[in-house]
Amino acid sequence: MPQVEFEKVGKSFGALAVMRELSFRIEDGEFAVLVGPSGCGKSTLLRMLAGLEEITAGEIRIAGRAVNDLPAKDRDIAMVFQSYALYPHMRVVENMGFSLRLRRAPKAAIAERVGAAARTLGLDRLLERYPRELSGGQRQRVAMGRALVRSPSVFLFDEPLSNLDAKLRVQMRTELRHLHQKLGATTIYVTHDQVEAMTMADRIVMMRDGAIEQVGRPLEIYDRPANHFVAGFIGSPAMNVLPGRIRAGADPAVALDGGGVLPLGHVPSLAPGRAVAVGIRPEHLRPDPDGPLLAEVEVIEPTGAETDLSCRCGGQPLMVALRDRGSYRPGQTLRLAPHAGPVHLFDAETSARLTHPESMIQEYDDDRHETRNG
């Protein structure tokens, strides 16, 4: 039985509808990441699940039970807020034990559970402090501790790492994953950061404008984005999108509007002349003297491990991420070919994905293993 289920859930604030007919399910023990640009409704969705926001249409179920009319405290969930919301007048130990005190748990039991959570999170020595006496990272931990103490059946996180510095964020990412593996509790984690989504999720729920764009495992979404939007959101640098038309003729290919003909693998049923958008990830492009794309290098961004070339190809911006350092200079023209990854086709109008990548593997693909391993 799925642990959390949304069925045709809608949300309006007065006359303003911010969510429509939203359905998805999260299995027991899964770490699900709700990702999308800010303002797309992630927090609202989480708050509806938590019981902090009324559900205006549809049904939300936790462990098979509809919770629409269940007050927050009876939903067996715990939530970690972006601002942490630690009660400023309570010590760490009181903050963590607050929910148990409200439930009138015996003192000894509270002490034991708070102690256990504190040990898990390395908070033992901070228990007597007030929130104002803690660093940002420590506060974050206390906020998690407060959730942990209750051993809820579902954990909710609303952008819990966004107030931390970059290094701590990466560290906490790993730690959260680790914690989840240890506890195995169903977790729903909201973020606008696709890296967090990719690295942490068992399952990604991709949102935009109050609607779900795609649900899937991280690599599934990376390899088979359902549309332009998902393709552009997941992966960094973002996927290149070039407009073109299906070329008439024996070999399936796309004539790019900016010039050049991109051969495709087997494309069954696209009418010649049909307008499409071709998507190629920056890391799936590399220099090739016979390549179909002619690009001019504009800016070179070496990251050490990678060299990102920001280019222009037939008037369109084109990013290339190379694993080597090479010797590139601005103004240089390069021939590029897709390799080691799919060429994605999207409908030019609806932006929906047109094909599966398996059918898109094309002739430049033969040296995939060489570059992957080299």
Binding site: F81, S83, A85, F98, L102, R146
Partner: protein
């Protein structure tokens, strides 16, 4: 930079600092003087009352202004303490003003919380009415209060003194505004933790606004203690009088004796003076709070 230029620079800086210290800002000086004069003007009556209290009556009525008594005596104080019911009046004042304070704080806390945090039909209208009642001076209602309390048979009782003084819209308004300003995450975290309204109010909101509560309690207490008009109307028997009303009886009972009168006034005001000294910060804060209300 060479050593020579460094010392030179240091010398120049020191000279500039000296000039700055010596320069007198004429505007600032004028304002300081004005403040001083005003402070003296406010302080003088207080001083005069204190000095009069410790003078013998003959010296008080002697013409001319003597800033310092020739002979010190506690006769006036002793007389008031022994020959009037001032201790009973004190008790009445303490009981009624403490009761007013506790009840005003508690009811305003509840009302402010409800107005700020609970969506119920008519909330805005209710709040509008509270804001409006803030504009009506209490003295305009005092006849109604008198009739009402009379019909309730509560004249000459503690309850009769306390009840009309519970109308304190400012305290509700201040609480509402403070609760409005508490980030909603605290509330939501507590709701998810399992808190109901009373737990939210008494375990989260109230502890987060203790300094506001302290400030509001102190000014409520002071205004209840100093209140004259209502207790004057509602208390007729000496037994039930507040100290502010009682001290007017000193004159009526014994003829005009300035030293005794001021002595009773000083004794009546003493607790509030002490409160003022101890809680100066909270009182200033409370005045700022209730003055800053936007209607």
């Amino acid at each position: 930079m060479t050593g020579a230029t460094a010392t030179q620079a240091a010398r120049l800086l020191a000279a500039a600092a000296r000039r700055r210290r010596l320069r007198v800002d004429p505007m600032g000086a004028a304002l300081t003087a004005l403040t001083l004069v005003a402070a003296l003007a406010f302080f003088f009556p207080l001083y005069w009352a204190l000095v009069t209290t410790v003078k013998p009556e003959v010296e008080v009525v002697r013409p001319g202004l003597r800033l310092w008594p020739e002979t010190f005596t506690l006769e006036a104080c002793a007389f008031v303490l022994t020959n009037s019911r001032i201790l009973v009046w004190y008790l009445n004042s303490v009981v009624t003003s403490v009761a007013v304070t506790l009840l005003v704080i508690l009811s305003s806390l509840l009302a402010g919380y409800a107005l700020s945090q609970i969506a119920f039909p008519g909330r805005r209208l209710l709040y509008g009415m509270i804001l409006a009642s803030f504009i009506v001076p209490i003295s305009a209602l005092i006849v109604n209060h008198f009739l009402l309390v009379h019909r309730l048979g509560l004249l000459d009782s503690w309850a009769g003194i306390v009840l009309p003084q519970l109308i304190h819209p400012v305290v509700i308004i201040v609480y509402k505004q403070f609760f409005d300003a508490i980030p909603k995450e605290y509330r939501e975290a507590a709701v998810v933790d399992g808190a109901g309204h009373f737990q939210l109010l008494f375990r989260i909101f109230l502890p987060m606004t203790t300094s506001v509560t302290a400030a509001l309690a102190i000014i409520t207490l002071i205004s209840a203690w100093n209140n004259f008009l209502w207790p004057f109307l509602a208390q007729n028997s000496q037994e039930m009088m507040n100290v502010t009303v009682g001290i007017t009886q000193v004159r009526e009972a014994y003829g005009i004796r300035y030293a005794r009168e001021t002595a009773s006034a000083v004794i009546a005001g003493l607790p509030m003076v002490m409160l003022n000294l101890v809680f100066q910060r909270q009182i200033t804060r409370a005045i700022v709070l209730s003055g800053g209300i936007k209607a």
